[in-house]
Symmetry: C2
Subunit: 439 residues, 2 copies
Amino acid sequence: MDLIITNANILTLDNEDRILFGSVLVEDGIIKEIGRVRTDNKKKVYRVLDAEGAFLLPGFVQTHVHTGQTLFRGMADDVELLDWLNKYIWPLEAAHNERSVYESARLSILEMIASGTTTFLDIGLVHNTESILRALSESGARGVICKMLMDGDGIPKGLAQDNSESLSEIRFLKEKYHRGCNGRIMIGVGPRFALSSRERSLVEAAEFARGEGLIITTHSSENIKEVLSIRDRFGLSNIAFLNKCGVLGENSVIAHCIWLEPSDLEILKDSGTSVAHCPSANLKLASGFARVPEMLKYGIEVTLGADGAPCNNNLNMFNELRLAALIHKPRTGPVNMNAKTVLRMATIGGARALGLDSEIGSIEIGKRADLIVVNNRGIHTNPVDNIYSTIVYSSMGSDVSCVVVDGNIIYQNGTHYLWDLDEIVRKSNEEKGRLLKRL
Amino acid sequence: MDLIITNANILTLDNEDRILFGSVLVEDGIIKEIGRVRTDNKKKVYRVLDAEGAFLLPGFVQTHVHTGQTLFRGMADDVELLDWLNKYIWPLEAAHNERSVYESARLSILEMIASGTTTFLDIGLVHNTESILRALSESGARGVICKMLMDGDGIPKGLAQDNSESLSEIRFLKEKYHRGCNGRIMIGVGPRFALSSRERSLVEAAEFARGEGLIITTHSSENIKEVLSIRDRFGLSNIAFLNKCGVLGENSVIAHCIWLEPSDLEILKDSGTSVAHCPSANLKLASGFARVPEMLKYGIEVTLGADGAPCNNNLNMFNELRLAALIHKPRTGPVNMNAKTVLRMATIGGARALGLDSEIGSIEIGKRADLIVVNNRGIHTNPVDNIYSTIVYSSMGSDVSCVVVDGNIIYQNGTHYLWDLDEIVRKSNEEKGRLLKRL
């Protein structure tokens, strides 16, 4: 059924950053009117959602998450990145099966929806990608699900896969799922990071992604040891090495980019590559502070992601908004990373990074209706002075009262349209228990 | 009526950091039994609260807040500290009246309670302290309310007050309110910071506080310009200057302590002074990173506070817990500031700073029952691996389902026992409007 959301404080996040009071009319999943909406001469029946003065925003777009890791929440606190990977995350990922991945993905996607994320880029897992796709399909959310590639030396047996096999599996997934569910589902290519793929595999993966018109994503320059190891092995910065392999480009999203060399900024900018900034994870793993204000000034598209539950430990975009606004101020001054800048990174910026900005990322006529209603009557958000400030500095995930994707209400007042929250919590605990036994 | 909380995962935060499953029995506001509770041979009637497996913690203790500033939430984003004070906060504070302070305090205290804070140290305002005390008394929470002292040069007319007048007002407040409401209410002395009081006034205030057995609190070493200005004027570090004035000591809580000189650590330690670390505010005002891990290693009592709504922009301890755990890791490594350390700062550490650790700060037999129930069934907190990690890294303010102070349930499932949330939001907006007209 078509939808009218009335009495909303609408943050459009369009090019003029217009804020309007009024309604949004949605037909066939597309935004048809904004502001003053006249339905009196129309014959159709609409579902009416009274926002009662709440904020209406475009849904958040996260450009870097690991839905396969959410069962491992809180299991690897207070360790260094490379230990975190080798001793905890890789063995845990290798112990996954079809069911545990499905429950991990359901839990992840539901946490994201409940805190306002409507689109995400998942760097995925080596195996059981179809479990994630099944969860995404049921969830009603929008996502780019990458199959992860790992074929370098020293990869645990359960995670290593021959590159040609990986790419042919992605081809299969693309044919079966890409732009399915009315376009909500997309397939991508996710080499884990430079040290976990052979150089030739990176070249092949990049060529493949470009040829098929798919997003490619990877981690880079997250940790000083990682960067030094790549320079040692290839004589290049991590970013320059990825560029040499063809991984950078307009279809490319690179997570972290903390330990950049000065020339890396130019490479990122010239190649049209987007960056996924993950402040919680960068702090928790003691990786460092990405030079986000400098990247933005340079014209690089910097977007936001929560990364994984074992290094965050949430998938809640409000945490990342607040941190992205706060943590760069001591170094660059209090005026940098203001609330509006950060909110644009989390919406239209993310949509641009995924090549979806003609479809989502702002509230504009002709775009798909991916919308969130954020309650503004909270004790913790009042008085409201500036709406951007309220969203970024004062609101929390639980203020999201309604989530619309493609014109469909998929979450409202704590209830998902299809999934039972308590059942998902219970099943995720059960599957975690079984996974630990397999380990 | 006396209270039994059953089926709780009890984080005692006692000296052994015991975690128990079971019940807590409260009589006359005092914790009488923990764990296995036998009521069969007792004749009394108890109120039973079934925690249904949720976490039961001591309520959080915030050691630095400004309840008088909450009406100004979001009104002074993205400016430097000294501008923030002179151009925004001081003129706004000077425009307060009795009613606006009361509404500001109600909003503040309710936000704190709803997110699990049961005790706070408020540095207060120069005028209308009784409005804050009225709000605290009604709220059911516990607090040390300081009257703020400002009598230096360049203080706006509406804020400056002769020091002897200030101290005699504190004496009056002490006699009327101190340890009233069954001990919940305490009075303190709050010179704003070294630059806004005459040196002699600081000496007098410190002597007064020590003589009367009251907490004294001030801001120090928050901003590089502030520190340089004090060194310029007095030839001492900010901390050494406060020490010279007698302000430091076991009854003293100093907020921020970012720009410390090496010898300041020794002064803080030797004097038994506690530090209130305010991570959100320090980031937002670009003040810098306090050397918290170093202070803790040195044996200094470092505690947590949200500071004020215009520099945070919340009064939610969960934000400060998460930030305190995260922001020091890039500099000092991922093992520092682990979840348990931070949670102890937020509970028993805060209680020690306020001289209340024999009464509150942990769940132990004989202590007063200041307790919070934190829901652990959330999509965003599951699976739970380590309870400290869940509280610090994954939980949010809205997970607090019940708040008990002095054995009384003062907040449960979004409802305060006395105050109407919607009315407080409405009135705070009205009073903010009137205040802006007066400005």
